[in-house]
Symmetry: D2
Subunit: 176 residues, 4 copies
Amino acid sequence: MGLKGGPTEDEVMAVSLAKLGIRPGDRVVDLGCGTGKVAVALSETAGRVYAIDRRPEAVAYARDAATRAGRGNIEFFEGDAVEILPGLGPLDAAFVGGSRRLPEVLALLADQVRGRIVVNAVMVGTLHEAIATMRRLGIFVEAIHLQVSRSADIAGGTMFKPINPVYIVVGGAGCS
Amino acid sequence: MGLKGGPTEDEVMAVSLAKLGIRPGDRVVDLGCGTGKVAVALSETAGRVYAIDRRPEAVAYARDAATRAGRGNIEFFEGDAVEILPGLGPLDAAFVGGSRRLPEVLALLADQVRGRIVVNAVMVGTLHEAIATMRRLGIFVEAIHLQVSRSADIAGGTMFKPINPVYIVVGGAGCS
Amino acid sequence: MGLKGGPTEDEVMAVSLAKLGIRPGDRVVDLGCGTGKVAVALSETAGRVYAIDRRPEAVAYARDAATRAGRGNIEFFEGDAVEILPGLGPLDAAFVGGSRRLPEVLALLADQVRGRIVVNAVMVGTLHEAIATMRRLGIFVEAIHLQVSRSADIAGGTMFKPINPVYIVVGGAGCS
Amino acid sequence: MGLKGGPTEDEVMAVSLAKLGIRPGDRVVDLGCGTGKVAVALSETAGRVYAIDRRPEAVAYARDAATRAGRGNIEFFEGDAVEILPGLGPLDAAFVGGSRRLPEVLALLADQVRGRIVVNAVMVGTLHEAIATMRRLGIFVEAIHLQVSRSADIAGGTMFKPINPVYIVVGGAGCS
């Protein structure tokens, strides 16, 4: 599929979900939901998932993915997170796969989210902005640099081929 | 605590569990259970977890961890996996955190496990033996090299400190 | 020795020197020379090395290292790079192992250095500032993330233990 | 160019050369010279470089590279290292970029090389064989896992893209 960035890689998603620590019944937001892969994974445990993307083609794609997975507890929003978030009320956790206006988004999430906020960043600027903003808001918990390589068969043997490294920035209210 | 190796790191456990793909009700074995951290995590979803370690102090420690977590669905065995495995009957998945006689263990698991077998290896010899044995048994799926670094505060800024890299070797019946 | 940060690791130094591409006769500056390890290595090929550190104990230590290595072509300066650099005249290359006021330092180096400028960064803020400043000055070439793990003997086998990852940021006049 | 494996990456070569520690006048062998990139780099400092590859197209390509670099101190051999090595007499260092019959080659080098032997390995089997053989020969010094990521421009920012990880296995007579 042609969505910029492609789906979150399995190993990155596994670590991100572990950091989020979703419990049954949780109300969770997925910002920049892209293909919907993370939203569907979140919806396995969460009570309700709010999936937001400003790209109509992403929302359409993710909605399809949710339907195929048979998940009725995902609600989709097309638009800007800064405008949509205030209408969602208190949340238990937030996954930020991608977002413009990250400082504003994090400021909103810091007030609205009771549990963990996890940002996936591949760009140095996003990493720096996520950490600096979380520190300023007093919610920075930790950042993880995840470098995954996967085996590949070559000449009758096994070598490793790396996927793009991802920074996983973790915040949480009252955790700094 | 003084168990050799220490507990599996959170990020390594998250990726290992994702590769195992445990479903509700599954019967799962944890070989070389050590502190019991992975056994407890497995028992959240699995129906029954069989945790094996040849060190009495590990089994005692892990049993305590299970009690503290309130998990009644973990059964502990002190002894050699090669002798204990045959008595457990068909299994859905296996996690191998550490084991002597790995080729024999994998040969048993290849027959006994319907789903995924995940081996965590830190030593080059174990990595090589796990892949070579799984290839010989026709059950090799993939191997992952996981390099995790975690943020640390230094001089008012953020740097990254790495934890020891781990190889996650994945096998499964009929998957080669 | 007790200098903050310790000496640049061998592998990081090897890659940094390769990126600098020093030629015989070059006039090179080492900013934040610390233990003097990089200055001594630079002085093998360079014609003259100017080693600067604002800490008297670093300059004393590095001067000793130069004497022990029998290098007479290293000149030491104790003080602030921003004040010392203008007096050094045209340079062929610059290694920045550590520096306060990095944007000012890079602005000076952009004018003064004919060849490559290499910054070693371990902090996210320094990485971000080095790239952003080099881009603004039109001299950014590339950045490298270097993750080195070294073998360690354990239980009769070989495992890998990682050293702290380092970012190597490379700039050069007219290279952007 | 179409040689299998392609040239050794700059950063991997920099670390490998640093581990070799070539001094002026040294007699050095390059086994599996491929594109000749490492042989040319070795010939900057070494007195004489013997470059061996069993593929005629590699020797032709590397010979061209040496000519273009104006290096007259590289001697090329087309054939099997095990047969060619004994005729080269005592050596100061050896770089093994690729080789079949690695255990036999290392046994020869252990007798013939006074200084360092450096093997670049991408396959798990080669890594394991290099370490195990060097340990058996009593010449194992260390192994390095090198993970390099390079900056890439994306959407007005900077991200990192990894190159394939390489194991650098270092041996040396009387160093175990």
